[in-house]
């Protein structure tokens, strides 16, 4: 008998007499409180993780990116909607080549205010997953209309067939005496540019 048949057989005999019908009570909040300013909350919660947050209007984005990079050598995905002077455009760089660069600039898919989270779905302007991982500084541009109040609204906006990366502050660890320390393997600095 294959391991598959063996396991499924054991599951079925373990569940003899058990009722498979379970009612799931969904009494939790699925919509944010309308009186809350989600953009202000998002900015505050992202900053709580010791990420840098800058807010600007749509025509100031390129200046904000340049300010955050401060001359660092950056890689950008194809189709990033903003011009980054002197940036390398990703054409399938190897991990070693990415490791030679200081920074990456990407767009985002969703921002979640309550948890201070940016979600990338690695669509246009966001690049493949390695891009926003290997360089040490990540500048991430989030549009006001991408920001939702809570996790349920964020999950609803995402497509499960795409890979997603949820980012809440810079890389960190709590493994030494359970205190949070920023900066391990992912980008040690995160700058979120919130537009609008």
């Amino acid at each position: 008998m294959s391991a598959r048949d063996e396991i499924l057989g054991r599951v079925r005999s373990a569940l003899v007499g058990a009722s498979p019908a379970v009612e799931v009570p969904r009494g939790y909040r699925t919509r944010g409180d309308a009186s809350v300013d989600v953009l202000a909350l998002f900015a505050e919660r992202v900053a709580d993780y010791r990420a840098d947050v800058v807010r600007c209007s749509p025509d100031e984005v390129e200046a904000m990116i340049a300010g955050a990079l401060a001359g660092a050598r950056a890689v950008v995905p194809p189709e990033l909607g903003w011009h980054v002077p002197d940036a390398v455009v990703d054409t399938g760089l190897s991990a070693l080549e990415l490791d030679e660069l200081d920074a990456v600039v990407t767009a985002a898919a969703v921002g979640i205010a309550e948890t201070g989270t940016v979600v990338l779905d690695h669509g246009p302007g966001q690049g493949r997953r390695a891009l926003s991982l290997v360089p040490d500084l990540h500048v991430c541009v989030v549009l006001a209309e991408q920001v939702v109040a809570g996790v349920p609204e964020g999950v609803a906006r995402l497509d499960p067939t795409r890979p997603t990366t949820w980012i809440s502050g810079p890389s960190a660890t709590s493994d030494i005496e359970l205190n949070r320390v920023e900066g391990v393997h992912g980008p040690r600095r995160l700058v979120v540019v919130l537009v609008g």
Binding site: A3, V11, A130, T165, L178, G183
Partner: protein, 490 residues
Amino acid sequence: MSATFVGMPAFPEAARNALADAQLRGNLALATRTIRGKRLRVVGELPDWEELRLAGAALKDSALLSLDSSLERLEASLTAAGATVHWASDAAEACSIVASVARDHGVDEVVKVKSMATQEIELNEHLAAEGIAAWETDLAELIVQLGDDLPSHILVPAIHRNRAEIREIFLRRMADVGRPAPADLTDEPVELANAARLHLREKFLRAKVAVSGANFAVADTGTLVVVESEGNGRMCLTLPDVLVSVVGIEKVVPTWQDLEVFLQLLPRSSTGERMNPYTSTWTGVTPGDGPQEVHVVLLDNGRTRALADEVGRQALRCIRCSACLNVCPVYERTGGHAYGSVYPGPIGAILNPLLRGVGESDQLDSLPYASSLCGACFEACPVRIDIPSVLVDLRAKVVDAHRPSAKPEAAAMKAAAWSFGSGSRLGVLERASGVFGGLASRMVRRRSTSGRTALSRLPFAGAWTGARDLPAPPKESFRAWWKRTDGGRR
């Protein structure tokens, strides 16, 4: 690097050794106090925490109570997304599947994301025996691996180590397996984290095969989820060409939407953050992005045994957050090693016997007694596992497994029922107890924290008093005092 839990003594003996280690107790008290405070703050922020717990418990139950069809759905959606699905009924099968994938690609090393399932099956030891090095990349796992040590906490396996010990391990061992630690390394956590970054980066950049677990597996879509902090998980899940994920069959959740519940419950319960720094989700193979060969090993290894236990099956809801460890008065004092398993603390006290069977070993059978039944674990559990009830049920099963030789505890309970059943019998026994109390106070060796004299060991009830201090009986019972003084009037 072959530290193992095999041959660990039963809990009472292991706990006595741990309690004598003042450094360990200091490290644990500091760490658990810190994490309890953080958890309470972020859980308190959510007005709907109880509703989330109820939903989380019900969602896991709905997947578990139809686990056969949940797994068939998961398999079909994973396959449709380009992943190769393997089934492993025990640890040996799972290890040899992972080893054969590594061999097929001719590698002598793999990088690993922290994973309880791969610890449970002792994958690293198995791969080492086949000449394949498995590099742990989570900071705490690295500390444990370099220190030839055993994990003592689900979330923070090196919780028993303080910063000075970690510095010493890095300086002594990193050079043996790769880039050495900086010679001027201090015990500042920022410097220790940076030493790990430099040491592991060369391994990430050259690795061809990665091994992970998964926190959740979505049946409807075939999406796997890894929740982490450092970015080592993202490195392993993204950079190598080949990814093998070992996933316990209880990790399945019904739909993508259900993650809206678990991605709120898990980070707040585990690291005490609103959200952990990084969560990765992936669905099979994405052309041009990440590993182009994706394997998923669905692991039983005792989970179907636990599923067959009507009371105990709720333990399979566990999302490995470790909140129950941090609030447990027993865990806080003994640490994780005393439980003799990669699953320590209250959840380990039920999960280990449920996975491996009652009556199999004294070590396993001792675990359901490693609790004061205070109930703090149930209060903290984000998926409402009623650990105290399962503990009591397992104690009954342990007693049943050891019949016909009646336990002294059972005999004592019977005797108590007889004496409390009649006032005159109770009076006689109280007088006897008073005589004993007089003797005891003369031979007593210490006072309890309440200032009362305490007996630390009784010759005829060693199993009971070996792990507890018994207050010495007073010389005169309340009833005798009342009679002698006419209720205090004389």
